[in-house]
Amino acid sequence: MNRFGSVAAFSIVAVLASVARAEVPADAPPVATVDEEAPPPLEEPEGYSPPEGVASTPPLSISGYLDVGFVKAQGDGTSFPAADTRLPADYGVDTFATAVNTRGEVASTDSGGRFVNGFLPRSVDIADRPSFLLNTLNIDLRYQTASSPFMVFSRVQLLPRHFASGNDTRVYVEQAFGRFAPFATRELNISVGKIDSVFGIEYLETQSNIRTGITPSPMARYTTGTSVGAKFFVRQQIAALQSAVSLNVAATNSAPFVESLQPPDASVAGSPNVSARLGYELNLRRFQLKLGGSALTGPRNDQRDRSARQRMLGADARINAFGLSLAGEYVDVKQDPGTEEKQTGLGTFPLASGFLARGYYVFGGYTLSPGWRLLARVTLYGRYGHRHAVFTGFRPVTVASITGGLRLDLGESVILKGEILRNDEIAGAPTVKNDVYTSSLVYSW
């Protein structure tokens, strides 16, 4: 082929090549840089809601927690001084001082054979021996269908305990009640059954996966018990003030004393105790203030003499702001002397002395949220409690307790706490070594 032919051939090839290139999809276009704003999406989703009934929680909900502790108490695990021969031995000391867990159980209540008259907590009977404890295996059952105004709730606790007399594992029904909320538009409900207290605020923290620390305050023994009865609650929001007022009223067999002091499951006196709390809350964006006043009156439910009355007055305050939690509560208790034997959750005792107690606690805690997956929150806390109590005719006893501790929330389900409880006998009770070093690992589901 001559030169012309070659040129022509190549020209044809070139033209065809350019045509072919044109029909070939373009190469990957130049990518927009990150600084460039992309055009608006062609379609912006409007959101998704599952069909009715799919997203609602199942009617039956089973939850709970496991609380395992490791604890060491000083002395012999009690507040009984060996040299003190006053009787009853539990009148001259604070038997609740050596609390080892959130239940308020103590390391020991062994009075060395000295007579006691029923002012005792439950004991884990470890004396001064360091010990692991399965404090509580708590199982909550809640049944409520989405559209129903009724709810049924029960809280059962398994409490493995060992005593010198042998195994003493208890199954304790802490709460079991039905609740009726008749109006969907109002915060109002009525609960009937074995219910928690309405007095004060500490009853809201009786469970170890709720309480910031471990041990209860010196006044918790009067305010954190459950009892069988009925409760009415109503709250009214006041939007203009970003506030709300609430009223809680209950009629129960017993005062909200812990069950080792006053039996809750039946009316011994044959007449209920009436208690109430009036509360105010200010709910600003970063600041919350809650104030309340409580009162109770009724017969002592530790004996049949209905004329032996008891009454309590209380005031409480809470502040939450910027990770800081402050709480304080004051309680004043008075019981008339009884004329019959005294019945408690621990048995029957000879006499029911007149009694009065005044006390308070202040609590402060600061929470940091690192936001790490395995360390959701770190809380440093401390509490000071003070209690002055006297059985009629007995020398008054004044004690104080200081607790300090650290709480780590390892994710949302596991809590690790460590606490030191220092007990001081200020007056009336001889000084004893009865501080407690305790820890708690709580797993919730």
């Binding site: 051939a9 072919a20 990518v31 912006e44 809601s49 919730s444």
Partner: protein, 347 residues
């Protein structure tokens, strides 16, 4: 392009023809892509032996042309190539005796394409105008996004008892930076019958969401998520509170009065995102081809699910994402101060 070897004694013109044939074949082969598209010529050769055969073949070719223009325009439309879509549909509508049903479905879409082409004019390179060389007289204003876009579709599965519906799916480029998304249009979340509607809403960073109390009593909305903490305070029936979401990630919404109320706003940092329908199907439109990391978030899943996706020019279909329902519900719903609320307490 195949480059043949020069053999000894071959004549140059033979070489040229060989090259031509090779290039033509190559071109044809490349033009045959994308896979699956039948092309503009009927793939089925119909023999013509009689006038009836001719009449049939003519009608078949006509129908095939209608289909080609109709579907081809839609493919271009979905890919964001409004100009191409417009051309094909305009050509379709010029066909004589076009069935009314076809015209009925095409005209609205053509209008959208024309509208879209005005804003996002894509100048096909087949017109011979190189990018950035300026628009021809009379054409739409130059598109700020001269990128070809396509569709990514697939299905999310799993999600536990809630199902896969609402899964937030988004793409981020693995082969380069992802364009910053624009704030989306204003959205609304209603509180009605003590329920947030919608329960899950995906937005781009900077989007404002209006929270509307459609109940007869007080509500509140708050979030404790880091970087997205807010609190509407009490707001009464019929009022609205607006919140702008900026930080990418999930934002759990709760009501401080009604512990059972929960919703999620997921803030995405990509313009390529969507939410799955109730059956898990999702489509992300306007995605330039390339390599991506697909992420999927669901409220029942402990972690964001990720996978690599290659988006070809014709798109990516059949992208399946399995959502494990492995997220453990926390034991308590917190109040707006982070304190646990106990359902048995009731207040």
């Amino acid at each position: 392009m195949v480059k043949p070897r020069l053999g000894r004694g071959r004549r140059p013109w033979t070489l040229s023809l060989t090259l031509l044939a090779t290039m033509t074949a190559s071109t044809r082969a490349q033009a045959a892509a994308p896979t699956g598209w039948p092309g503009e010529e009927m793939p089925l050769p119909l023999a013509v032996k009689t006038p009836a055969d001719l009449a049939l073949k003519t009608e078949a070719e006509r129908q095939y042309l209608i289909f080609n223009l109709l579907a081809g325009g839609k493919v271009a439309f979905d890919a964001g190539d409004f100009s191409k879509a417009m051309k094909k549909w305009e050509a379709l509508l010029r066909l004589p005796e076009l069935p009314a049903a076809v015209e009925k479905v095409v005209r609205p879409l053509l209008a959208e394409a024309q509208h879209g082409a005005r804003d996002v004019a894509v100048l096909p390179l087949s017109e011979g105008i190189p990018p950035g060389a300026g628009a021809p007289i009379g054409a739409a204003k130059p598109s700020p996004d001269p990128v070809a876009r396509t569709v990514v579709s697939g299905t999310a599965s799993g999600g536990g008892e809630l199902g896969p519906g609402g899964t937030v799916v988004w793409l981020k480029r693995a082969d380069g930076p992802t364009p910053r998304p624009r704030p989306g249009k204003r959205r609304a979340i209603s509180q009605k019958n003590k329920v947030f509607i919608p329960r899950v809403l995906a937005v781009t960073a900077g989007t404002t969401v209006d929270f509307r109390n459609d109940d007869d009593f007080f509500h509140n909305v708050f979030s404790l998520n880091d970087g997205a903490k807010f609190d509407t305070g009490l707001y009464q029936a019929g009022t609205t509170y607006s919140q702008t979401f900026s930080k990418p990630g999930p934002v759990q919404l709760l009501c401080n009065i009604h512990a059972s109320m929960v919703a999620y706003v997921y803030v995405v940092d990509s313009p390529y995102y969507t939410q799955a329908a109730g059956n898990g199907a999702f489509i992300i439109k306007g995605v330039p081809p390339g390599e991506y990391e697909l992420s999927a978030w669901h409220e029942a899943s402990a972690n964001v699910v990720r996978k690599r996706v290659v988006v070809r020019p014709e798109g990516a279909t059949g992208v399946n994402v399995a959502i494990p329902a492995d997220k453990r519900s926390p034991p308590f719903v917190p109040d707006k101060y982070g304190k646990p609320r106990q359902p048995n307490v009731g207040y």
